[in-house]
Point group: C2
């Protein structure tokens, strides 16, 4: 059936974000840092990852420091100097965190898409 919503909903998009906080509601890690960690793992370089995501190095550096401060142990193994100037890799814990977030997102992506489809259908009927 046609409703007033019908014509408007064709290019409406859904977005979502999940993030972890501590008990004081201070953000620890969300989608942005998750993507950043993933890309650092892939590229082996913080700078390369920043360039690709369009974040400034300065900002990213501060953000990642916050996560490590919360957890109290390093998620990154950073190396300065060398022929390539330096590189950054994930520690075992860093990789574990990224993988857990990956799995979470993978499931959620489907569920949210389903929910969104139903939402649109509901408005159109």
């Amino acid at each position: 059936m046609e409703t007033k919503f019908s014509s408007k909903l064709s290019d409406v998009r859904l977005h979502y974000k999940i993030w972890l906080s501590d008990e004081k509601e201070t953000g620890i890690m969300g989608d942005g840092k998750w993507r950043m960690l993933k890309l650092i793992e892939e590229k082996g370089s913080m700078k390369a990852a920043c360039d690709e995501l369009g974040y400034t190095y300065r900002r990213t550096w501060g953000n990642l420091k916050k996560i490590e401060k919360f957890f109290g142990f390093p998620l990154l193994e950073k190396q300065r100097g060398g022929s390539d100037g330096g590189h950054t890799a994930l520690t075992e814990e860093g990789k574990r965190l990224v993988r857990a977030f990956d799995a979470f997102h993978k499931t959620l992506d489907h569920q949210i898409q389903d929910g969104f489809d139903k939402f649109l259908l509901e408005l159109k009927k």
Copy 2:
């Protein structure tokens, strides 16, 4: 099993947000406006709803105007003057939108909680 994460995760909380945008990624409506519309429906007053949620009237007024601008038809029926100073109700479309969001959230709340539980388990094992 114990991992480095175990002790840190006891008071980690998960938050999430969903929102709609147009094709230019301009936000249309998210959880904040959804809650506001719900409360306006319940209270019959924009001011009362703002007071309860702790938002300023000014901000809310601007936000709701944006949604209506996008959809191109009113979600609110506003009345100025009268013994009570005025009141605000939802149109049929407003109610429909709120109900669809309600249903979406209800399903999602459970799914996200499930996903989060698995996420924590994954980090601890």
